[in-house]
Structure formats: C-alpha cells, structure tokens
Assembly symmetry: C2
Amino acid sequence: MKTINLAEKLATFASHWDPHVVADYNDNDVMVVKFKGEFPFHKHDATDDFFLVLEGEMLMDIEGEPSRTVKAGEMFIVPKGVVHRPRAEEEVKVLLIEPKGEPNSGDADREPAPKPRI
Amino acid sequence: MKTINLAEKLATFASHWDPHVVADYNDNDVMVVKFKGEFPFHKHDATDDFFLVLEGEMLMDIEGEPSRTVKAGEMFIVPKGVVHRPRAEEEVKVLLIEPKGEPNSGDADREPAPKPRI
C-alpha cells in the first residue's frame, strides 16, 4: 500500500509494447507502457480495453471507423469485441488496465510470458 | 466510443466530493472528482479503491498507518477492507474507478443518489 509515481515507473524501462504492472485493482492489472509504431489489429472478446495517455499522443485505429487522437490527459475505452489497434508516430506513455491474465493482443498463444511487475 | 478529455470534464462542475462518471470500463464507473477538506473515514468491504491524482495534491489517511501524499501523476490503491479517508488542503482533481453501484462512502444508506454522468 504505497503511492505509485507513474513517471518514475516509466523511467525504469525503454521497451515499446511491453506493459509493466504497477498495481493491482481488484482482479485487474494496472500497467504503464510505451508505444511507438503500430500494434496489430485485435479485439478482446470479454473485456473493455482501458487507455489513459500520460505523455505524448496516441492514435486509436478502429475497424470501420475514423481513427481517434488521444493526447496526454485524455482516455479512451475500447468496448469488448471492437477490433482496434493503438498507434503512435512518436513515443507515447500510457496507463492501461486489464483483467489479470488477459493478453494485450487478445490472443494468449501470441503472449505466453507474464507481464513484468515494477 | 470517443476520446475523453479529463480536464474538460472537470471544468463542467465545481462541487467537491461529488464524483461524475465519464466512462464505463467493464462493470466499473470511471469518474472524475474534486476533493477539498476531508472525507469521513470509511472502508469498502468488497472492492479496492482506485485514486489517480490529475492535478494538485491529495493526502490519504489510513487507520493505524502514516498518511500518504499523492501528487499529480501519482496513484494510490486502497485494498478492500482498509479504513481510509482522502483529504486535501487545497482542491485536488482525481480520477476514480469503482464497481458500478459501490457507494463512495462504503455505506449505501448515506448515498442513495446515482452519480451524475458527464
């Protein structure tokens, strides 16, 4: 039970598309991540996908819809079942929340490794 | 499904201790709130309590432990069952996440009104 400084946590790693768990909220992982480039299109059948931009600017591409821009201090929730991909032209720092065990890609076979905790 | 600017949402109300729902994440309300002064000590028996400070500085008083300071860009999760109260000497703006229907005070009899959505 302690105060979690998100910038300090983000400063501990440099990798992209590599969420690090910083806290537990009920049965969810609260994570920080750095994005640059684009993630594969995917969906989560059983969970909404929570994004809060902490620094920089993210694009959220959504199948069949215009892309959305999400800047620092803005959040975006992708409802369950919606095909999407986050994308960033420059590095963006993001807070994610996902039920424990949910693979970021929506596909457990692609992501066998547990997320690191910092 | 749209980008949610938290500062814009916070600018729509002035009241303290009055969470406003800005989004749904699975069966949780994502809320913004302004605190000033102190909330009653309370606990949530069945849910962790999620706080992310967006602007300003919050104190988290915890029964039997030293108070914690939580500043902008910092988060604090109070595990279920832990007696606590948020407090702020100056106005602080906070993101909250709680399962739908959970009263902020942990006591449904004290909080019959549904939280407003903005």
